[in-house]
Amino acid sequence: MLKKTLSSIIVCLTFVLNIQAQTSKADSSEMVTLRIDPDAARGATVSQIFDEVKFIPLETTKESLFGSISQLRTTKDSYVIYDYDTKSVLIFNKDGKFRAKVNSSKVVADANEKDKQVFYGFNLVKNKDESLIRISSGKNYFFFDLDGKLIKKEAIGKRTAEDRYIKFADSITTIAPFYVYKNGKDSTNYEIAILNDKKEIGLYFPFESDRFEKDQYIGSGNPLTEYGTDNELFYVRYYEYNLYKIKPKSVSLAYRIIFPASISLPKNFMDMTEYKKKRIEYFEKNPGQIYGISNPYLIGDNIYFKINIWGWSQDKKNALVYNLKNGDLTSLKNLEPDARSQFLPVTDGGSFYDFTNNGFHSYEEGYLYTSYSSLALFTFKDLNAGKDRKYDSVLTKFFETQNKKSNPIIIQLKPKKN
């Protein structure tokens, strides 16, 4: 009996040591603490924040009609968007002209699938100047060119976490979220693994594989964001206000944000056992507390990010820009349109829902992208009635030929770096 107990203790110990040995710790030596009170965020004119503002109405035809943009990526000469309403990927030229559409009719359904096989997003595979749209549907990857032509089809094989892997520009480093580390028969789950040619060089934030069954984890969007700097990513953990920076060699805690106590989760939030599996109940009772941050972008001296609370209100200043140099905090919902934006709002925050729901779609090649509906644009234009506003040729033509039911508009913004 004793023997058995002893041996099992030893087994346990070796197991624990094993994990200890593998797990890397996020470096916090260069951590910067930011104290942010969203209520104190100020407004600014559009031209104080952005150097360029461009409205790109997307062409409306019978074929190209879609609902709203839930994913947007750019290539050299086109926009690729995903629309949840029509479950399709649409490709538009940079001038907004419709180019092609990929929907379920263009992907071959699996043998055992009787219905049309829909998909819920896309990946842009960039290869030098060429870009391919990769759609994961059923058991296959489908690769399309920007004219919507099927280029190739690959079996995904066993569906793994590899779908989510992000390759760095250095072409050797891969960031693997939700990585399962295997050591003989044992395996450990990590939120982040850094792989160098398939070899683990860093394993961060271990977690129990059944944690999502044991408790409620409410995310605030994609935890990994690219912010336009090569070989760098931001990572955000559940119920934390920290921005981790992932680089080819390590993960470091770059920014720790402290909000006023009244709108912060209690420090021991995850230890509050009375709310185990009842996190939502807690948020319902404390609708003003921030349960997560999302969409962080580091652009020059500015950090753009979004705060998420349960109690939703259009008045809340939840999309913020913090200037690391001078500490200025600007609310993006309170930007004042000026000549640079043709006296039109650059987001629909505060009036409609696209910006509130999605934040910025992406930050690519020095530009932030957001979008809003024709309904919103026409509403904003109607508010300018009688003020002798002049619109550029694109918008003039749009207002003349389109209506409130036309396709959404992409807004391309070039943020200032300082």
């Binding site: 104190a40 939703w312 508010l383």
Partner: protein
């Protein structure tokens, strides 16, 4: 008469349009202003702030609006050269106050950028003025204090002042064109939930704010949200009382008396009511009494009138209590715990007198005329006690309810009937005298449990469940005596005379058990999608056990005592079992384009199998009938909704239903009572069950634009019956009828219903138009003297109502109803038709704040193909004077049916006959009424504003 109406409508339209035009072309107030609100501390413009403009001299509110996305505001129709004040307010900001005057030379002033400062948290700011309207998250709030009204105003008067709100003539409330589905007070239904009780009683001064928001009722269908209005009372005003005590006396000993006393606290509501009258004001339950005793305030109302159309003279006395207790002070749709109980006692005396003539075709050439003169008087005593307990927690709901009622009474009825032949010669008479006393009790108990899907637990096998059980016990006792004299002119040998007594009693126990298991897809098919198809299993079991004990005695004229009638005295037990297992297969298609539209198509198919067993045990062996029925009864429905953002919401539905009606023992093998010679009932053992199949289509349209909305509903129902149980009537020349029953095919019906409403809101007046129409077309088979004939009936009923209100001084309502009937039997070559028309003009004029004149006139015309037109006019008028502080006392002089013409017309057709005649009605009287309305909101007497 119709011409007069047309003229009046045209006049009103002209008035309204003039009014509207006047506003557009030449605004009475030429001034305008604009400006921008800016928070310089945060360096941005202030959106959604409330900007109100007041007249400096008397602080009266002129106009208000919410600053737009650019922080701008812009006002028109302002007075020129007058000192004005602008208040801008927003949650978290100090109220900004600015004095200005619109210069008379330019009629315009640009206020430029106004700086508004954030509230300093360390300073307790004294709120100077409250903005009339605020957006609080998704809730639109109207602040009572910002609207200046008479100190006696009620909530309804306030609602009339709000530009986005329409109060319809029929009591419905719409906000921005959308129908308000429920009106709550502090989050709870108020005294039974009728909006009127809250809006016409609660003093405007007790009200903090009116909140308007959307409630998602059904988690399964979040699109199905309803608009709710919550009346939030001021702190300290959550408890109070209101009511009415009143009495009136008039000519012909007409009287009325009302008492209604209602107390409420945050958790409890108690109502005590009582009433008595002999002017046909019906008193059916506690809520009717509460609803008809509202304070109403000083607004103009087209007064509630005694029912001059009700037939007979009714003298009801009633009283009751109703009690509600909310264990949860602020109930939500997922947390509710309420007990409600009420007791009601009612005593009614009715006197009816009617005279009519029915013409029946018995073949292509011959007709029978039956002249009927009927006098009846009834005394009825009703008691009703019920209680209900509701418990709702998250996705579970449990309800217990019971109801006990007792109905006791006596009636006497005397009927004289003469039958005449085609040549108008008397052939027979049948006179009856009935005396009846009864004592019926009914008890029912019901329990319901509903478990709805918990989206937090997607892996649950049984996602939802509905269970219900109901038991109803009836105990009826009836004693009746009947005297019948049938005298044949043509054949004295067939003369009959009866003196018969009946003692009948029955007891029935009815039980109903239902179980429904929705959302079963994942239970059987796991996570597979199945193309969006879902399943529901259901089972319904009904059991009915009934015992009938009938003892009948006849007078033996020789011995002058009553002896048992061995044929009619009987004891029957009936056991009825109905079992219906069913399956529902459903599939939904959604089409959604963000910010554009939202469409949903749902298909349901419900195959059901119904098994029925009817077992009769009787002392008469020919009544020992046991029958089993089973039938496949598929139901199906298609629903389609189309929501075009900011334009309209449309819903269509098409459904197919099957119903089965089995013949009762009385239809199969009745014991024929020979006293009613004009209608002898015979059975038919070969009767089959009738099967109804019905197809119905409906369309609803809700306008979602903000102004002058048009809403309409249409529905069309078509049905056909296989094996309809119909009469095969044999009529002899003395109008003696024997009805045999038989099955016949070819019964069809087509019904149409439509209504449309449109409102025009002008600056000082409002016009509402309401149209509704009903059309029914039926084809009924039947046999008359062995001749098979279809009788085709076509009935229509259309009414148009136009309501016009001018400020709070004048209310006008014009109504026109037009009804037609047409009955045709091709086999007999007969056609009966008739028209009933009524034009009504009601008006109410507030001469002063305390004195109101109401008048109401209706022109009625009834014409029929075979008789002369009947025209009569009812004209009622009254003068109301309110006095005492708070207008709590009311003195009213009323004159009703001033022209003394009220008549109640019988004019209808059915099958191969039509009937015309009249009944006794309430006629001219004059009355003086005094009423006192005790009311208090909050612990102290209402503070004068």
């Amino acid at each position: 008469m119709l011409n007069l109406l047309k003229l009046v409508i045209a006049l009103i339209f002209a008035m309204a349009i003039n009014n509207a035009m006047a506003q557009q072309s030449k605004p009475s107030l030429p001034g305008s202003t604009k400006g921008i609100l800016r928070d310089t501390a945060h360096n941005y413009v202030l959106k959604s702030a409330t900007v109100s403009i007041y007249k400096m001299a008397d602080s009266s509110l002129i106009s208000y609006q919410i600053s737009n996305n650019y922080g701008e505001f812009s006002f028109k129709n302002l007075p020129v050269g007058v000192s004005l004040r602008l208040d801008a307010s927003h949650v978290g900001y100090q109220t900004l106050r600015k004095k200005f005057t619109v210069p008379s030379d330019k009629n315009f002033i640009d206020l430029g950028t106004l700086i508004i400062n954030p509230k300093d948290n360390t300073l307790e700011e004294v709120t100077v003025t409250i903005p009339p309207i605020t957006m609080n998250g998704d809730t639109l709030e109207f602040n009572a204090a910002a609207f200046k009204l008479d100190s006696n105003a009620v909530v309804e008067d306030l609602l009339r002042k709000i530009p986005n709100v329409t109060l319809w003539g029929d009591g419905q409330i719409t906000v921005n064109g959308r129908e308000v589905k429920s009106v709550l007070v502090n989050g709870k239904p108020f005294f039974g939930g009728d909006a009127k009780v809250a809006t016409q009683n609660i003093a405007k001064n007790a009200l903090d704010k009116i909140q308007v928001y959307n409630t998602v009722k059904d988690k399964n269908n979040p699109l199905d949200s309803t608009l709710t209005v919550n009346l939030k009372l001021k702190k300290g005003k959550e408890l109070g009382f209101f009511g009415k005590i009143g009495g009136g006396y008039g000519t012909d000993d007409r009287y009325e008396a009302d008492l209604s006393f209602n107390v409420f606290s945050p958790k409890m509501q108690l109502a005590i009511v009582g009433a008595s009258n002999n002017i046909n004001k019906s008193l059916n339950n506690v809520n009717t009494l509460i609803n008809n005793s509202t304070f109403k305030g000083v607004g103009t109302n087209v007064e509630y009138q005694p029912d001059f159309r009700a037939s007979g003279i009714n003298q009801p006395n009633a009283g009751g209590v109703k009690f509600t207790y909310n264990f949860v002070e602020k109930p939500t749709w997922e947390n509710r715990n309420t007990v409600t109980s009420s007791y009601f006692i009612q005593n009614t005396n009715n006197d009816y007198v009617s005279n009519s003539e029915t013409t029946t075709s018995i073949n292509t050439t011959d007709k029978i005329y039956e002249q009927n003169s009927n006098t009846s008087s009834n005394v009825n005593n009703n008691q009703n006690f019920d209680a209900r307990y509701d418990l709702t927690k998250k996705n579970k709901a449990l309800t217990f309810s019971h109801n006990f009622s007792r109905n006791k009474g006596e009636s006497t009825n005397e009927t004289f009937r003469n039958a005449l032949n085609t040549q108008n010669v008397l052939t027979s008479t049948n006179n009856t005298f009935n005396q009846n006393s009864f004592d019926n009790t009914r008890f029912s108990f019901q329990v319901d449990f509903r478990l709805s899907q918990n989206y937090m637990k997607p892996k649950q096998l049984i996602k939802s469940l509905n269970l219900s059980y109901m038991i109803t016990v009836n105990d009826n006792e009836n004693n009746r005596s009947n005297l019948t004299d049938f005298i044949s002119v043509t054949n004295p040998a067939s003369n009959r005379r009866f003196d018969r007594r009946y003692e009948t009693a029955y007891n029935s126990v009815y039980q109903q058990m239902n179980i429904e298991l929705p959302n079963l897809k994942s239970l059987f098919f796991g996570n597979s999608n199945l193309g969006g198809i879902d399943f529901e299993l259901s089972n319904s079991l009904n059991l009915n056990n009934r015992k009938d004990d009938n003892q009948v005695q006849d007078l033996n004229t020789a011995t002058n005592n009553y002896i048992n009638n061995a044929y009619l005295s009987n004891y029957v037990e009936t056991h009825y079992i109905e079992e219906t297992p069913g399956l529902t297969i459903s599939k939904s298609f959604y089409k959604n384009l963000s910010n554009r539209y939202n469409k949903n198509l749902s298909l349901n198919f419900s195959p059901k199998q119904k098994f029925i067993r009817q077992e009769n045990r009787s002392q008469r062996s020919f009544q020992n009938i046991t029958r089993n029925y089973q039938r496949f009864m598929p139901d199906a429905s298609i629903g389609y909704t189309d929501n075009q953002f900011g334009e309209y919401y449309k819903s269509y539905s098409l459904s197919f239903n099957t119903k089965v009606r089995i013949p009762s023992l009385d239809q199969l093998a009745p014991l024929t009572d020979s006293t009613n010679l004009y209608s002898l009932q015979r059975g038919n053992l070969n009767l089959k069950e009738a099967v109804d199949r019905e197809l119905s289509l409906s369309l609803n349209h809700y306008d979602q634009t903000n102004k002058n909305t048009l809403n309409y509903n249409l529905s069309l129902t078509a049905g056909f019956t296989k094996n309809q149980i119909v009469d095969s009537t044999f009529i002899d020349d003395q109008n003696r009828r024997t009805n045999f029953l038989t099955n016949a095919n070819g019964n069809r019906y087509l019904n149409f219903y439509g209504d449309a409403r449109k409102a025009f809101k002008f600056k000082t007046s409002e016009l509402q138009i309401n149209l509704n129409s009903q059309i029914s077309n039926t084809k009924t088979p039947g046999y008359t003297n062995s001749l098979f004939a279809f009788s085709k009936n076509f009935n229509t009923n259309t009414s148009l109502t136009v309501n016009y209100t001018y400020k709070s001084y004048l209310a006008l309502a014009i109504g026109q109803t037009y009804g037609t009937y047409r009955s045709e039997q091709e086999a007999f070559n007969t056609l009966y038709k008739g028209i009933n028309k009524a034009s009504t003009l009601s008006s109410s004029y507030n001469v002063t704040k305390k004195f109101t004149l109401n008048t109401n006139i209706s022109f009625n015309q009834s014409s029929s193909s075979n008789t002369d037109d009947i025209n009569f006019t009812i004209w009622n008028a009254n003068a109301v004077y309110r006095f005492l502080k708070g207008n709590n006392a009311e003195f009213k002089l009323s004159a009703l049916d001033i022209l003394h013409q009220n008549t109640n017309i019988i004019n209808y057709g059915s099958g191969n006959s039509f009937t015309v005649g009249s009944r006794n009605v309430l006629q001219q009287y004059f009355m003086t009424t005094f009423s006192y309305y005790p009311r208090q909101f909050g612990k102290k007497a209402p503070v004068k504003k």
